[in-house]
């Protein structure tokens, strides 16, 4: 990441200006050309520093209030393939391989599942279980009961 990328983060963190030429407006604010702003955004998208550009929905306002952390015990050789398949589904918001801690914790694949109710989340987890088929040795869903702290991640800008 470059120093001027931090200025770009600061300028776009709360969103793009909703005007006909938003990149030009950001460029004016930063004292750069519009082409330079577009080139930086394009590079940061390619690097993965920007995941995507578009609508960031407020899930709660849209009624998507239930989430379950589904955890899966998958053979080490299959976790890559299954992780790709789970992550590609529209209702999975995060999908990671994480270490087991045997014997206390056997699950090595995590997929966060969202829905309008716990029942909908459970149905979607069943879809994942069907997709996983014989590669899944065991799975569980950990529903969130309470937010104990949420300060948000601080950015390095």
């Amino acid at each position: 990441m470059e120093a001027r990328d931090h200025a770009l983060i600061a300028a776009t963190q709360t969103g793009l200006p909703l005007v006909a030429d938003p990149y030009g407006a950001i460029a004016d604010r930063l004292g750069q050309s519009r082409d330079a702003v577009i080139a930086s955004l394009s590079r940061l998208l390619e690097q993965g520093a920007i995941r995507r550009i578009g609508i960031i929905p407020n899930h709660y306002a849209l009624g998507i209030t239930a989430n379950g952390m589904s955890v899966w015990d998958v053979a080490d050789g299959e976790v890559e393939c299954l992780g790709q398949a789970f992550g590609a589904l529209a209702f999975v918001s995060h999908c990671y391989r994480r270490p087991r801690h045997l014997p206390a914790w056997r699950y090595n694949l995590f997929a966060m599942v969202h829905g309008r109710s716990r029942e909908e989340v459970a149905e979607k987890v069943t879809e994942l279980a069907i997709l996983g088929g014989g590669h899944v040795r065991d799975h569980a869903v950990l529903y969130s009961k309470r937010i104990l702290k949420k300060t948000g991640l601080r950015l390095g800008a």
């Binding site: 793009l16 929905p57 206390a104 009961k145 104990l148 702290k149």
Partner: protein
């Protein structure tokens, strides 16, 4: 839950990514959606004002911005749960902490600009609580196609 018009639905379903990098990106995106530039800009502004969308723009990946993050879990005896939550939350490095319904019932994320600090925070929490902190670092992130359908 807020009621949505057909145009609002169409825009939310169609524009959760792929916003063009061009001189007139709203005009380009509107053309793809079968709308005009002014309608798209006005509808997005209204959706932001109503709180249906948090914002419109880049979704930054905090891990690419410097600093380290790590998820961890603890199995806290129910009778000590609130006291332990207080000890964990007292650390400034703890960004999120959730109660979940499992033997591993406390799940939190530590973040610090100094990547070496994460292990230190976990060690302090173990010393203060007498409980094991199970670090669950990301070993691999899979591509995520998450989008909301309304």
């Amino acid at each position: 839950m807020i009621a949505l018009s057909d145009i609002e639905r169409h825009i939310i379903n169609g524009l959760q990514g792929g916003f063009p990098l061009s001189g007139r990106p709203f005009a380009d995106a509107a053309a793809t959606l079968g709308l005009d530039e002014q309608t798209l800009i006005a509808t997005l502004s209204a959706l932001v004002a109503k709180g249906v969308i948090s914002r419109f723009g880049p979704l930054w990946n905090p891990e690419e911005m410097g600093g380290a993050f790590c998820l961890a879990a603890m199995a806290v005896p129910p009778e000590r749960f609130d006291a332990v939550a207080e000890m964990v939350n007292a650390h400034a490095e703890i960004a999120h902490n959730y109660e979940r319904d499992h033997t591993h019932n406390m799940w939190f994320v530590a973040s610090s600009l100094d990547s070496g600090r994460i292990a230190g925070v976990f060690a302090e929490i173990e010393a203060e609580t007498g409980l094991t902190v199970w670090p669950m670092p990301k070993e691999r992130e899979f591509f995520v196609g998450f989008r909301v359908e309304v």
